[in-house]
């Protein structure tokens, strides 16, 4: 049906065990021209997100729709969620910032425009920014994220500027559900409300998706999972976007707290639990590629996913940063990253080979404290998030992450934050860390989570598989009994970035 059909169809093979096709796929799972597009895009490749960084520039403040999970009045530098930024930039300021970041962070490979409004409701600013960056830093991939309402009008321009990755937020294909998410849209000089608004929006979104697919532009679809509103419906959304050529589907939990002042937040609409989110992602995975490593970052985020270095690059500080854009230095740095990735993949494969012939029904989750590069290299007390892997005899598969407050805060409030950390990884059997103190170690063990620090500095997947083998051995010998874990919390409150 679409030109893009060639990179689909691997969805079902990406089931249990094998890192799911798409966001978890490696060089061998995708056609070369698709792999080339995603291999260093942290959002489109889970494998890449351990190594490569992205940045968003907040040049697009205006929006053309209202969503019940968004409140444009609220902005706090200490908070991390989409739609929030601390300072707006002109295209010229943005281009300067990109060069400064690219020369400071050589693994920054992707520039995205994600708001804080809608990039295509600010087409002049958005495309001017792309034009300036394509001129000064042609090696940087361009990317944008839109609600899709204005998308059909801009597909030609997107294609002309070689924007290779477009994300559309699609929360529904049924206007009856849509009117509970979108109070209004502004289109063709008119404000539409209710069912009519949702009908127009879904038609424009799906049309835009088809038009991008037909031009071979990779499309990711973001969906916000809102329990009781669109949670069951997202399976239908998944089918609809797959059939229109979407490359990747990213189902994200609703972020909703009363202090955000959103309609959902004030109404007490809850977000999903970790198990609810994973169950929906697993249900959709048979249909297509799922993204599970999204950090729902701000429209001015800078750095690896999960870290935010935007505070280093404020307009004030930009004036004092020496910008020396050195394409060759970036290239050689990235070549070193590629060698590191190969070593990691080789270690995983050799460890996986030792699992060959093993068969067990046991499937469990483990949490990992990491600073990146695919290594267990973060202290328990310093972790701002844990990555979650599902282990089975088919291998280790990344299935998500959990944000937490720092456990180690210099002597106060620690006990309370330890219980928050435990709640966030309560569905995990073990937590892998570079280092951990005696006290939290004992409490974790008591909560039934095995604190593992003997793989400090080693590759995540290799270590996890080796730990899992040992676990199976102990279950088999009767030393321990395998028990299912409970559910876990997804953090809702304001996220303190640093």
């Amino acid at each position: 049906m679409q030109q893009s059909a060639d990179y689909k169809g691997c969805g079902t093979s990406g089931g249990a065990g094998k890192a799911s096709c798409g966001s978890g796929a490696g060089a061998n799972d995708l056609p070369p021209h698709i792999w080339d597009k995603v291999k260093n895009h942290p959002c489109y490749s889970e494998e890449a997100h351990h190594h490569y960084a992205r940045m968003h520039v907040a040049v697009a403040p205006a929006c053309n729709i209202q969503c019940n999970y968004c409140n444009r009045k609220y902005d706090c530098a200490n908070e991390s969620r989409p739609g929030v930024v601390s300072e707006k930039l002109t295209p010229e300021q943005a281009a300067k910032k990109v060069l400064a970041v690219a020369s400071t962070i050589p693994q920054m490979t992707v520039l995205g425009i994600a708001g804080p409004g809608d990039p295509l409701a600010n087409p002049q600013k958005t495309f001017k920014t792309f034009e300036l960056i394509a001129k000064t830093a042609p090696d940087i991939k361009l990317c944008l994220s839109t609600n899709g309402l204005a998308l059909p009008d801009h597909v030609e321009t997107i294609s002309k500027f070689k924007v290779d990755h477009v994300t559309i937020t699609i929360n529904m294909i049924d206007p009856a559900i849509g009117q509970r998410i979108y109070p209004w849209i502004f289109w063709n000089h008119k404000r539409y409300t209710g069912r009519e608004a949702a009908q127009l929006l879904t038609e424009r979104q799906l049309l835009g998706l088809e038009m991008l697919s037909a031009r071979g532009i990779l499309c990711k679809v973001n969906s916000v999972m809102i329990p009781g509103v669109n949670d069951k419906h997202l399976v239908e959304v998944n089918r609809a976007v797959k059939s229109r050529g979407a490359f990747l589907h990213n189902i994200m939990p609703l972020i909703s707290a009363p202090e955000h002042g959103t309609v959902f937040g004030l109404a007490g609409q809850r977000g999903p639990t970790a198990q609810e989110l994973k169950a929906l992602q697993d249900d959709c995975e048979g249909e297509m590629n799922m993204m599970r490593h999204c950090r729902q970052c701000r429209a001015d985020a800078v750095g690896l996913l999960g870290e935010d270095r935007s505070a280093e690059f404020t307009t004030d500080k930009l004036n004092s940063i020496q910008v020396r854009y050195d394409a060759d230095a970036r290239k050689s740095y990235q070549a070193a990253v590629e060698r590191e990735r190969e070593a990691k993949a080789a270690a995983r494969e050799s460890q996986l080979a030792t699992l060959a012939g093993e068969h067990s029904e046991i499937k469990l989750l483990v949490a990992v404290a990491t600073k990146g590069s695919g290594l267990i290299n973060e202290h328990f007390g310093h972790a701002k998030e844990f990555q979650v892997y599902e282990l089975s005899t088919a291998g280790a598969k990344f299935v998500g992450h959990r944000r937490v407050d720092l456990y180690c805060q210099g002597g106060y409030g620690e006990e309370e934050s330890l219980s928050t950390v435990i709640r966030a990884i309560n569905d995990c059997h073990a937590v892998f860390v570079a280092k951990i103190g005696g006290c939290p170690k004992a409490e974790l063990a008591q909560a039934g989570i095995d604190p593992v620090d003997r793989h400090a500095g080693e590759f995540i997947e290799k270590s996890a598989i080796s730990w899992f083998q040992h676990y199976l051995d102990r279950v088999r010998s009767g030393e321990i009994q395998h028990r299912a874990r409970g559910d876990a919390d997804i953090r809702q409150g304001a996220f303190i970035a640093a």
């Binding site: 053309n64 409004g117 409701a121 502004f186 008119k190």
Partner: protein
């Protein structure tokens, strides 16, 4: 009566600026401002004032009752 923007509620998102058929809206200190001499309440252009229709904050682009009503040229 032209429209005015309640500055304390304006998020500075700029959505209204390009929608105004009279180019009456400009940025001033991070928020937006409607030049009452240029505002026509969108009469003759659209069914409803565009700034009000696109503004993300309710009751922020409102009729300024302190000024006389806009009179379309005959």
């Amino acid at each position: 009566m032209p429209l005015k923007i309640i500055a304390s509620q304006c998020t500075g998102c700029s959505a209204c600026e390009p929608e105004c058929p009279n180019v009456a809206i400009t940025e001033k200190g991070g928020v937006f401002f409607i030049n009452p001499k240029k505002c026509t309440e969108c009469i003759g252009h659209f069914d409803a004032p565009q700034c009000t229709a696109v503004c993300p904050v309710d009751n922020t682009c409102v009729i300024d009752k302190s000024l006389p009503r806009y009179q379309p040229a005959a």
